[in-house]
């Protein structure tokens, strides 16, 4: 599909896209660091929300600010900020999640003064009435901060419109995931990964248009069957910045049918109530959605929902993708593994450093795992 070519171009070179976008539309671009960013509000302000992915290569500037035991994701994001390559941004939004992102925000504010900087200090608890109220209050404040920073007014009508667009995008993303879980051969994991990434970069209206066409095509794709012996897997972790992984898994005889990634299902899961007051609707989605391990809801929420996910997709196993130095995920791993063990759901742990282990070696590890399923 030539649509994928367009998407792939954007994913490989998002900055060129952004520069062009700015030139053509005159709109501002707002960077953000995590899936708890209320993109709807940014969109309603007439700006383009742009997720910062960072880089794995040529890190120099970030090392002056972050010690060696900081996760590569944040190091990479800071490097991009310091390098000037993100100068096209009007500003950056930092939702509060883990200790590392928290300090990234400070370091950014002190060292990259050219752009506006907004902290969105979300509650850590997502399961109490007072936390819900605080979340709504803080979204209200964010809206004001953003209006101020962008010199724009965010009307309720614009918010309602944004919510509609995002609901449509999320519904379609859910649909693609569902279709693909049934007929994985219709689209490769790598292409699916590009779609998600593009969803966080591209002009959302144009993205929605293309996405609608892609889904229509996929709906009509002939019903295929999963190749005999292919094992269905669920991927869990933070963000996946290694699209190669999908190819390697597929070559090893597996296929990822669902995920619990911040750059995966957690990004699009949950539809907003279009009848509720907009900010309440946005808050409610965060409260209902599967949580990031840096947040607190219950004691076994993540384990429970992972097991449910595996059951629903009739998956054969789980792959934990843990980024080195990522505390929230590392703390959850032992208990979730124990829960999976109790349910006889096999899992494997993939410790991720900046670079993936050499392709062949990784494929062998996946093969070994897939063979036991």
């Amino acid at each position: 599909m030539e649509k994928f070519t367009e998407f792939k171009n954007i994913v490989t070179d998002p900055y060129t896209y952004c520069h062009k976008y700015k030139e053509e539309t005159g709109k501002k671009i707002v960077g953000y660091t995590c899936s708890y960013t209320p993109e709807e509000i940014i969109y309603a302000a007439g700006a383009l929300p742009f997720r910062l992915f960072g880089t794995n290569e040529g890190i120099q500037r970030a090392d002056i600010h972050l010690q060696t035991y900081c996760c590569s994701l944040i190091r990479g994001v800071l490097e991009e900020g310091l390098s000037g390559r993100l100068d096209f941004l009007g500003g950056v939004v930092f939702p509060h999640t883990c200790d590392t992102i928290q300090r990234l925000s400070d370091i950014w504010r002190l060292n990259i003064p050219k752009q506006f900087h907004i902290d969105l200090v979300l509650p850590v608890k997502l399961n109490t009435a007072s936390a819900r109220q605080y979340l709504i209050d803080i979204l209200e404040r964010f809206k004001k901060d953003l209006e101020h920073a962008l010199g724009a007014k965010i009307t309720d009508a614009a918010l309602a419109d944004a919510i509609k667009i995002y609901n449509q995008i999320r519904t379609l993303m859910m649909r693609i995931y569902t279709l693909r879980a049934q007929k994985p051969e219709m689209i490769s994991g790598r292409d699916l990964h590009s779609i998600i990434k593009v969803a966080m970069i591209m002009d959302r209206q144009l993205f929605l248009k293309t996405l609608t066409q892609i889904v229509a095509q996929l709906e009509n794709a002939p019903a295929g069957k999963i190749k005999a012996g292919t094992k269905k897997l669920v991927l869990t972790g933070g963000i996946c910045s290694h699209p190669d992984i999908y190819d390697i898994i597929e070559n090893a005889g597996g296929v990822v049918v669902w995920d619990d990634l911040c750059t995966g299902s957690r990004y699009f899961e949950g539809i907003l109530d279009e009848k509720a007051p907009p900010l309440e609707a946005i808050a409610q989605r965060y409260l209902d959605r599967d949580i990031c391990p840096a947040k607190h809801a219950g004691l076994t929420d993540r384990g429970d929902s992972l097991i449910q996910m595996v059951r629903k997709q009739t998956a054969d196993g789980v792959i934990f993708m843990l980024l080195k130095f990522c505390d929230p995920h590392a703390f959850d791993y032992p208990y979730i593994k124990e829960m999976l063990d109790r349910e006889n759901i096999p899992c494997m742990l993939l410790d991720m450093e900046e670079q993936l282990p050499a392709g062949g070696q990784l494929q062998t590890r996946f093969e070994t795992f897939i063979q036991i399923l």
Binding site: H96, D106, R109, R141, A330
Partner: protein
């Protein structure tokens, strides 16, 4: 049981006296640190027998409501410090790693999680909790750590969520935290099965405030040249303001300690003989090397006269209303040293540099503690720019000895001290 308690007392005694006696002054009176801590831990350990409840609480957590309800607060972080000081950290950390916890996680958390399952460590493990109170004003680690323990012990967990104050304290935050104080009180009422004692908490709040004032005064004595106490002494005496904040013991102890310090000043006794150079320490102590570091710096006639860590327990007094503790504690607990932006931390560091008139700044880049350590490089640069004093960053871990390279750190301290000496000539 009696035998068990006396065993525990012995171990605590060995810990408290064995590790620290060389560089801490001893008291003739009976209210020594050793006695107080022995009574404290043995009371906590025998809570099952005396029918008292035990709450595990984070070091920066609001303990006063617990004390007002006769709940015994126990501090896994203080326990972690004891584990580190008795050099049992590495073993326990390894146990946690075998349980699946990454070696990059906070070593207090690793050691404690491991210790709970084997009752190991210097005092044979902590008494089992009836409830857990986690305040995330110090880090996100404690949230995950307490979740682990809540699953393990199957006891109720209260999370006091204190939103991070990057650039200030917002109205929204004030409302949210204040609302949670009420939720916290209800939580304690449920756990204790009786109504909260609002009268008593006033008294406890006052004692807590006075304790903090006195602790600040203890630390203030180091502004004198030569300093009668060093940061290493402060690391030791800190135990009380952490664990017994809100009780009269703290008042008596620190009052006596201040008198002692004044006496030392009067008699010209200093923490480091021949103090010539004064240094400021940043981050947690390296518990397993306090003695070594003290000696190392003392060999250069250098004294670590102050530190950012122990002063965190009296750093937010300006937000406390002594006569309205419950209302004001929301802000005081939210705006503590680790819950503020890097630039505000740098300001406080600079204020300490001036107050204690130090010649250099030593930063412990602590692999365990990301919120304390990330941003340090910026603080270092700000200090260099604003005050122009030499700074030294050493990478280590407060409990896990495997991250400590003695020869390398020794060489770097020597080189750093050479620069300081050169400048002071």
């Amino acid at each position: 049981m009696k035998k068990q308690i006396s065993e525990i007392l012995k171990v605590i005694g060995i810990f408290l006296f064995g590790k620290f006696k060389k560089f801490t002054m001893r008291f003739k009176k009976s209210n020594t640190m050793k006695d107080i801590m022995m009574v404290y831990y043995s009371e906590a350990k025998s809570a099952r027998l005396t029918g008292k409840k035990v709450a595990w609480i984070t070091s920066g957590g609001p303990v006063e409501p617990l004390i007002a309800m006769d709940v015994i607060p126990v501090y896994p972080e203080n326990h972690g410090a004891m584990i580190g000081a008795s050099k049992m950290g590495t073993g326990l950390c390894e146990t946690a790693e075998n349980m699946g916890y990454s070696s990059d996680l906070c070593s207090y958390a690793r050691a404690d999680i491991a210790c709970s399952t084997i009752n190991g460590g210097p005092i044979g493990g902590l008494p089992k909790p009836d409830m857990l109170v986690c305040c995330n004003n110090i880090c996100g680690t404690v949230l995950k750590w307490y979740e682990v323990q809540a699953r393990y012990f199957n006891v109720p967990l209260f999370v006091l969520d204190t939103p991070f104050c990057h650039t200030g304290y917002s109205e929204e935050t004030a409302r949210y935290v204040r609302a949670q104080i009420n939720e916290y009180i209800s939580f304690i009422e449920r756990a204790c099965g009786r109504k909260f004692d609002y009268e008593r908490v006033k008294k406890v709040g006052q004692l807590s405030f006075q304790g903090q004032q006195l602790w600040q005064k203890v630390l203030d004595t180091a502004a004198h040249k030569p300093a009668p106490l060093s940061a290493f002494d402060a690391f030791y005496h800190l135990a009380l303001i952490v664990t017994l904040r809100g009780t009269p013991e703290v008042i008596d102890y620190y009052t006596a300690l201040i008198a002692k310090m004044k006496d030392r000043i009067a008699r010209g006794i200093s923490a480091v003989p021949n103090e010539k150079y004064r240094l400021l320490w940043d981050n947690l102590p390296i518990w397993h090397r306090t003695r070594w570091l003290y000696d190392k710096f003392a060999s250069h006639n250098a004294c670590l006269v102050a530190d950012t860590y122990t002063s965190a327990w009296c750093g937010t007094m300006k937000y406390i209303d002594e006569n309205n503790f419950i209302d004001s504690m929301a802000e005081a607990y939210t705006r503590i040293y680790l819950n503020i932006g890097v630039d505000e931390m740098a300001k406080m560091v600079i204020a300490m540099i001036d107050k204690y008139d130090v010649d250099g700044f030593v930063l412990h880049s602590n692999r365990s503690c990301k919120p304390y350590s990330f941003g340090q490089l910026d603080i270092q640069r700000i200090v260099e720019k604003e005050r122009g004093i030499p700074c030294l960053m050493i990478e280590a871990d407060m409990v896990d000895e495997r991250s400590f390279s003695e020869s390398q750190i020794s060489t770097r301290i020597d080189a750093f001290m050479e620069i300081i000496k050169e400048r002071k000539k």
